[in-house]
């Protein structure tokens, strides 16, 4: 079986682990703590794929019907 990446599928949006600095600016933009972000599980196939660990924040860039492209941030939990 050939190895393939989940992210190559067209209905899986772009997921990436956020670097510390960018995370800080996002949290201060919304003036929230990390825990107030939506969550994603470490067991989630896509978290495994990008190698996220608990405490990371995943940035998701999806296509949006209304805005063209929309960014979401999810906190990885166990």
């Amino acid at each position: 079986m050939t190895k393939f990446s989940l992210l190559d599928h067209e209905s899986v949006p772009k997921h990436e682990i956020m670097p510390e600095g960018e995370l800080k600016s996002v949290l201060s933009k919304y003036s929230i703590e990390k825990e107030q972000l939506p969550k994603i599980k470490v067991q989630d196939p896509v978290s495994k794929e990008i190698g996220a660990v608990v405490g990371d924040v995943v940035k998701i860039t999806r296509k949006s019907q209304t805005a063209g492209e929309a960014e979401y941030y999810r906190l990885v939990i166990e």
Partner: protein, 880 residues
Amino acid sequence: MANVPPIPKRISSIKFGLLSPKEIRKMSSTPIITADTYDDDGFPIDMGLMDTRLGVIDPGLRCKTCSGRAGECPGHFGHIELVAPVVHVGFNKVIRKLLRATCRKCSRILLEPAQKQHYLDQLIGIEEIGHMPDDMINEAYKEASKVKVCPYCNEEQLDIKFEKPTEYLENGEKLTPTEIRDRFENIPDEDIKVVGMDPKNARPEWMILTVLPVPPVTVRPSITLESGQRSEDDLTHKLVDIIRINQRFQENREAGAPQLIIEDLWELLQYHVTTFFDNSVSGIPPARHRSGRPLKTLSQRLKGKEGRFRGSLSGKRVNFSARTVISPDPNLSINEVGVPMPIARILTMPCVVTPRNIEQLKIYVRNGEDVHPGANYVLRQDGRRIKVTNVNKDDLAEKLEFGWTVERQLKDGDIVLFNRQPSLHKMSIMAHSVKVLPNKTFRLNPAVCPPYNADFDGDEMNMHALQTEESRAEAKILMQVQENILSPRFGGPIIGGIHDHISGLFLLTRFENHILANDAYDMLRKSDIKELPSPAGYDPDGKPYWTGKQIFSQILPKNLNTQFSAQVCSHCDTCKKEECPNDAYVVIRDGELIKGTIDEAAIGAFKGKVQDRIIKEIGPEAGARFIDNMTMLAVRAIMRTGLSFGIADEDIPKEARIQINEVLGKAEDAVQNLIKSYQNKELEPLPGRTLDETIEMSIMQKLGKARDETGNIADSHMGLENPAVIMARSGARGSILNLTQMAACVGQQAVRGERIRRGYGGRTLPHFQKGDLGSDAHGFVKASYKSGLNPTEYFFHAIGGREGLVDTAVRTSQSGYLQRRLVNALQDLEVQYDLTVRDTRGVLVQFKYGEDGINPTKSDFSKPDTIHRIVRSVASREVA
């Protein structure tokens, strides 16, 4: 009562359990032994059902338990010692399960020690996670009842049958409650835990009653009728029955009556105790009052819509509200509501007396409660409420001081809330301003029917009079009808012309309509337009005339510019826009209707582009004024020409009829050919379909096409002079399909999207051959409603029609529940000032509302058109 701590205690947990006989006796203030209530002097009898130790309800008496007066004493329980144990109906299912799961001899649970331990461990685990142990307990019951021989004493287990509502048969022989109780008493504590009961709080033998708690008199108060006769509560009646039978039982048993009589009495006692708890159990007749009315016993008080939970605890009732039938009044503004005088005289608005309004308020008080607008109550500064009567009204008016409050009657201009259930969206409750009118119905402008989903076939609506200045201000700014014309659902107007408004303006504005001065002024009479523009032309006899488009333009705001396709647009391949031969391209320039016909796409509810533009560009006030003027103009316009529909309007010429029959005949032949090729196995199945599905689909398709063709034929013979066509084309009411069915051909009747196949084996009706696949054997109705259906067609039509009815009934309940769940899940989400959507904990749900942060109410039918419009208006021409 005096030593109640001032701070309410905090509830840390609630524990449910069974009352043990010991506990019942302990909490009882007295045993009840006599079935009588009051003695000859009207005093409660000692140890009777109305014993004063159970609490008091008559004023003047004092409770013997707490020495409180009526109203202070909360009531106290008593008890009845039952001569023989009886089953508690509420636990019949548990009793049954337990009987089956325990040994008939040693009473141990029928599980191997290892298995038992396994369940006990699981139970602890489940409790730790905080889950419900129900599934595991049911499994334990199931396993235990499967065992046929007791693993402890080797006793063979017999079959337990349960007969509703309270009888248990073991191998056909009745188990007496005493026997059941004996068995349950012997179940060891540990075994009880396996089935999820807590032996400290709920021993299973407590489900068999030996002592019956008697509820306090405050729970079952007797009422004194006007005749001075006392009427007892249903519960008291039931308790009387129980005590009587209990006594008879005891006497008979002491006298050594035969077993048969004892058993009968036992059964009777069981019946009375059962109905005392629940008078609607199946299997026994409900206990009845002397009048024949079934008694309302304990469970009836709690259960159902009018029960304690749904009716009294969750049910909320409000003051300052009114409800009555609604009827239309096109002369009211959409912001108004007509309030019947009798309601206006009862509902009040509180007004604080100030130097500025004292004179006016004095007039209201002097008017009293009978003369509108009057006042019903005056509140003094010390909080005393004085009713305004004919006797004291002048006196009160003189005494009026600053700071007092006058509750004056509702009058024109007051802001009230108006509502129709089901309140499914925010437009189901809107603020209107009052217009007091004679008669007894609420009146509203028919244009506001769509947001309420109201009609006038007997609908009732509620009105709420707002009681504070803040609420009135808030309602006026946020909830007034004009603020809610645009719906956040689709970014367009939900209020607009309906039915006659649309056909009226359609008739007025279609093509060049010559209207003389008299008619023109008449049509515009109700609006604030007093002058006409220069006439469009002069008749041969020299009289000036105006066009319908000019008349309509009078009610348009002067700076309105827009263009769009009308509803009548036939969607040609290349749109000729302004040169549309159909007059279906609307152009409004500087508030002047230059071209096009006004129909549903212009002024209809849900679709109207004109209201939409007016509100978004000028404001809601102008929008409301436009709708008011438009509806009044439309009503007058339609009255000028009149629009009526009769059976003759469904007539089509003979040659059309022939053409239709030809089409239907051809379709019939095509179907027969399909059937033949199917029978000869020549038919090619469609990809992914069986042969049977294929033939059904092709037949449906053929017949559907045939029906559409007949429709087109009929349509081509009915022009825009036909009122039904006018209504369908303008979008006022009905569709071309409706017209087709009336004039040409009703078409295929379907059940679940398929041709009708149910009925007898192999055929739908005995009139057809078995296996006939033809069109008329499966519900194709060739006839039109006008020509009349033949009997088989009529029957198929009834089948199809019924499905529609069932569908709507099922759909409304299902979608209602679906919506309720959705609303409950989303109700606490809120769009914050930074455009994020957050829940109450501050957790983000969306980083930008709708991902684009656009308020759908302000969008153009949810399409990004605003930018184009801005460019257009700046460049004052179309920019690609």
